[in-house]
Each structure stands twice: as structure tokens, then as C-alpha cells.
């Protein structure tokens, strides 16, 4: 028979079911659907496995798992607060450093730098995001930690030692070291996405401000940045989500101590680091179950943050994006 109808309507009811499936398009549809659905299924399965395997510790501790301060394998008392505290503290420290640096650099690259320089620098910064965590950890152990121990932390103790934040021995490793290395890992995200958000601000806004007599800085800081604030906020959330889940570099410099300490100079732990260190040797079912519950907590945290970040970024760059 000659070639089929010029545009074969895919939804026309076939005479036989067998013919439906012999139609190449329907097979392709099914095959690709299966592969796409597998992504969904695997993720659901992941959450399921985490939920099931953490059941013993969830049953035993309930919500007090999240508030318990003691991690004692001997007494089988497992409380996640020291790790949640360490995770939040190091991530917060990281953002404290990387947000001003990142937003500052994004402003420079979006507003001041000539386009070619801006593109090259952004490219270099995005390459930084590709550096594996373990390599940053390697550098941190042999270069950053000794510098902190010999110069950085004693300096902080001498100048700011009256604050409980900077007291105690200068180990080099600890919350501060972890916060610094996380800052390096997060500012590529902030720079790249904030720059996009800033570039998406319509030219009219800048021109209007300048026409009213504002300096370049005033126009940027008082008009452009607020306009792009949702995207910048989204980049911060994204960076935070990355920092929370970072494992290798953190576990190499955080000192691995299961207590809650006020001083930034003291060693501590994050959720990811404690799982990495203890998972393959957790003897005892409650121990293993508690570690998996920690994984569940971490997953929930990053899920919420990532979701919020996506919404925020969509709100900005979707809104005023320039047409290609």
C-alpha cells in the first residue's frame, strides 16, 4: 500500500489492539515512558528504603531523636541534635562568607565587567563548582588547617577571644575549618545564579535610576538588586542545600566530635560526616537504624530547601528574562 496518511493522528482508535502496539510511535512512547518513569520509581524507592530501615530508631526515640543531645553507642542512646547543630552551624558560617563575596562578585560581573570578561570569569567560577569534594578536603588538610592552627585561630583568639565563639584550644580542624571549605564550595552557585538573576533585570530599571541621578552603585544596590532579590535568594537556598549534604571535605576537617560546642574553634560533626565515618562499622541494629534515620533527616532538609530554591529562581528569571 502507498504511504500512510500525511499526518497520522496518533489518537485515532485502531481497529485491533495488536495494531495499536505495532505502531512504532506507540512503542516508542511506551519505551521512553518506562525509562522516564524509572527515575520516579527509583526516587520513591529510595525514600521508602530510608523510611523502612530507620523504623527501629524512629519507634524507639520518636521526635526526641531530633532533640537528643547524646550520641552514646554503649548505652544505645542516639540523639541527632549535635549533628543537626553542626550541619546548620557550618552551613551558616559558609553562607556568612560566601554570600557577601558571591553577591559582590555577581554584581561586578553582571553590571560592571565587559561581557567577554564577565563570561570568562563566570566560566572559571563554574569550573570551581566541578572540583571534587575530596580534592578540596585534601587541600584543606595539608594547607588550610595548618594555617588556621598556626596563624588564623590564634589571631582570632587574641582579637575576639572575649566572645565564647572564639575560645578553647586552636586545633585547626573544627567548625571554622569546615565552614571555610564549605564557603569555597558554595560561592560558585551564588555567583552564577545571582549573575543570571541580575542580568535578567530589564534595562529600563537601570536607566530609570540613572536618569534620576543615581550613581552606578546606587542604581545597582537600590534598584537592580532588589528587583532580582528572589533569584539571589534562590541561589542562596541552592547553595545551602549543597552545603548541607557535603560529605568528604567536611569529614576531613571537622574533627569528628559528637558533642555540641559553642566555640567555632572546637571540633564537631555534621550529619553527612557522621554517616560517612560510622556507617560501615555500626554494630548493632539500633545504631545502624539511627544512622539511616539521620540520612532521612538530611534528605528531608535538602528536599525542602531545593524546592524553595527552585520556586524562587523560577519567579525571577522566568519573569523578566530577555528574549534570545
Amino acid at each position: 500500500m502507498a504511504t500512510a496518511v500525511v499526518t497520522a493522528p496518533p489518537s485515532s482508535r485502531p481497529r485491533k489492539l495488536g495494531q495499536f502496539w505495532r505502531d512504532g510511535d506507540h512503542i516508542a512512547h511506551l519505551v521512553t515512558l518506562i525509562f522516564a518513569a524509572s527515575v520516579f520509581l527509583v526516587t520513591v524507592f529510595l525514600v521508602y528504603e530510608l523510611w523502612i530501615h530507620s523504623a527501629p530508631s524512629r519507634a524507639k526515640f520518636g521526635f526526641s531523636f531530633l532533640t537528643g543531645k547524646v550520641w552514646d553507642p554503649v548505652a544505645e542512646q542516639f540523639g541527632a541534635l549535635p549533628f543537626i547543630y553542626g550541619t546548620v552551624l557550618t552551613s551558616f558560617l559558609a553562607l556568612l562568607i560566601s554570600v557577601p563575596l558571591g553577591v559582590g562578585a555577581a554584581i561586578f560581573l553582571a553590571e560592571l565587567a565587559p561581557p567577554r570578561l564577565s563570561n570568562i570569569c563566570t566560566f572559571l567560577v563554574e569550573l570551581l563548582a566541578a572540583v571534587p569534594s575530596v580534592i578540596l578536603g585534601l587541600l584543606a588538610i595539608f594547607t588550610m588547617v595548618p594555617l588556621l592552627r598556626q596563624y588564623g585561630e590564634p589571631f582570632l583568639k587574641r582579637t575576639l577571644g572575649f566572645l565564647p565563639l572564639f575560645q578553647g584550644p586552636a586545633y585547626g580542624v573544627g567548625y571554622l575549618a569546615a565552614g571555610l571549605i564549605l564557603a569555597i564550595m558554595t560561592f560558585p552557585f551564588i555567583i552564577s545564579i545571582s549573575r543570571e538573576a541580575l542580568l535578567a533585570v530589564p534595562r529600563e530599571q537601570r536607566e530609570a535610576a540613572l536618569a534620576l541621578g543615581a550613581t552606578k552603585w546606587e542604581s545597582t544596590w537600590q534598584v537592580v538588586v532588589p528587583y532580582a532579590r528572589l533569584g539571589i535568594l534562590g541561589s542562596i537556598f541552592l547553595a545551602l542545600a549543597r552545603a548541607l549534604g557535603e560529605t568528604m571535605a567536611v569529614t576531613m576537617v571537622i574533627g569528628n566530635d559528637t558533642g555540641i560546642h559553642t566555640s567555632l574553634l572546637s571540633p564537631g560533626y555534621t550529619i553527612a560526616a557522621v554517616i560517612a565515618n560510622m556507617f560501615s562499622e555500626a554494630t548493632g541494629d539500633m545504631y545502624l537504624s539511627s544512622l539511616i534515620e539521620l540520612g532521612l533527616v538530611l534528605f528531608a532538609l535538602t528536599m525542602v530547601l531545593n524546592g524553595a530554591a527552585q520556586l524562587l529562581i523560577l519567579a525571577t528569571t522566568g519573569k523578566g528574562s530577555r528574549q534570545p
Partner: protein, 282 residues
Amino acid sequence: MDPIARRNIVNKIMLTVTGICTVLTVSTLFLILGYLVVNGWRSVDWNFFTKLPMAAGETGGGVANAIVGSGIVILIAMVIGIPVGFLGAIYLAEFGGKTVPMLIRYTADLLNGVPSIVIGIFAWTVIVVPMHHFSAWAGGFALSLMMIPIGLRATEQFLRGVPNSLREASLALGASKTRTIISVIVPAAKQGILTGMILGVARIAGETAPLLFTSLNNQYWAKSPNEPTAALPVLIYNYAISPYEDLHRQAWAAGLVLLVLVLIANIASRWVLSRGAAVQRG
């Protein structure tokens, strides 16, 4: 002081500050590369690439099995991840309706955000425990989970980027949807798709956490993917935290090699993308 002059000074200062921020952040990459080169290049020698690790405390070992082992787990990850990412993206871009693709995209983003250590836990419970041993399969599976979201989203974006006019022209000529996809759309988007795959591989090449309790480690060559296998990132981690000077030396060299490979992959993907864009514009 004259308010206008003050505002101008503030202007200059703040703009300089942002410039300094940029210099600081951009130079970090060069600092990292510099440190690795200075500390590692001397150790990247023939022994390094061809020998197996020696017992602790003895010198002269190499990382040959870790390099090959990394290659094996990455290959397994690609075998799983590339079909899923590619075919799944075709579904999302060409076949899907409204709700199902939205759901799949959402879970892909969710999967992308899962911390790598949690992926390691998952791979341990579903592969290592039932199989009753550590294996390269488990490691490769864990890595594929990290690769799929990147490949999926990048491929979908580039497929969507193909102008509708191409699709309509193909259908008008009588081709079926499948043939259109195979012969017209995918070739048009191939640079972007390749980019997505390369970026996915670059990301997993340096991942350590998912391998810690899946492919574990191996002193020797792994005979089959059923065995635990050495991998470069795991090796770097173990050597870095040990007290032996010789192992530190090797860790620097391995770090240099790994970073160079990852950077090359990233730069290559950009280059592929820019070539594709140029071809399409011209």
C-alpha cells in the same frame, strides 16, 4: 562634605569592593590548581600509573588499580545512566502530556538534590546487602543515580530547543514521530545532549561518598565487577588521612590527575556546546 561628592566616593569604593570579591573568587580555582601542581607533579611518574599499592609503610606503590577501577564504575554508571537520561528526556520533550512529565521532572530534581552519602546508603541497602558483597556494580549503580538527573534535564532542554519548524517539516513529509525524533530532532540537538552526558560523567568522576560502602576498595585488580574495586577519589581520601608521607605524596598526584581530568571534561563540554551553537546560528 558635598553630598554628591560623598555619593561618588561611596560609588567608587563599593564598585572596587565588588571587583575585589570577583578577584578573590576567581583566583580560588587557580590557587587550587596551583597547589596541586606544586605538590603533585613530581609524583606523577611511570610507577604511579602502572603499579599497585604497596603495604603500609613501604614506598614505591602506584595507583593503577584505582585509575582503572574508577573507569569501571564510571562505565557501569554510564551504561545505566545514559539510556535512562536520554530516553527519559525524549519522553519528557516529545511524548509526554502535562502531569506525568511534571511529576518526573520534580522527582529528577529531587534525586539531584539527594546528598551523595544518602545515595550511598540506598545503594548499600538495595545492592550490597542482597548480593552479600561489595561490588563495582553497587558503586556504578550509586553513581548512575547521580548522573541521571543531569543527563535527563540537559537532554530535555536541548531537545526542546530544537525549533518546532523542523518537527513540523518532518511530519509533513510523512515521517512518523519516532522517525522524526531519530533522524531530525536528536541530530539537531546532539551537541547539547553530548554536553549533558559529559557533564554528568565529570560530576561522578570525583564522587567519593557513594563509593564508600558500595565498591569499598581493593588492594589488587578487581577480577570482575562483582568484586570490590579501588577508585581514585576513595584512594585520595584514605591516603590523605593516613600518617604515611609516601601515601600523602601519592594522594597529591592522584588529586592532580583527577582534577585535570574533571576540568578537561568540563571544558570539553563547553567547547562542544559552543561549536553546536555556532553551527546552528550559521
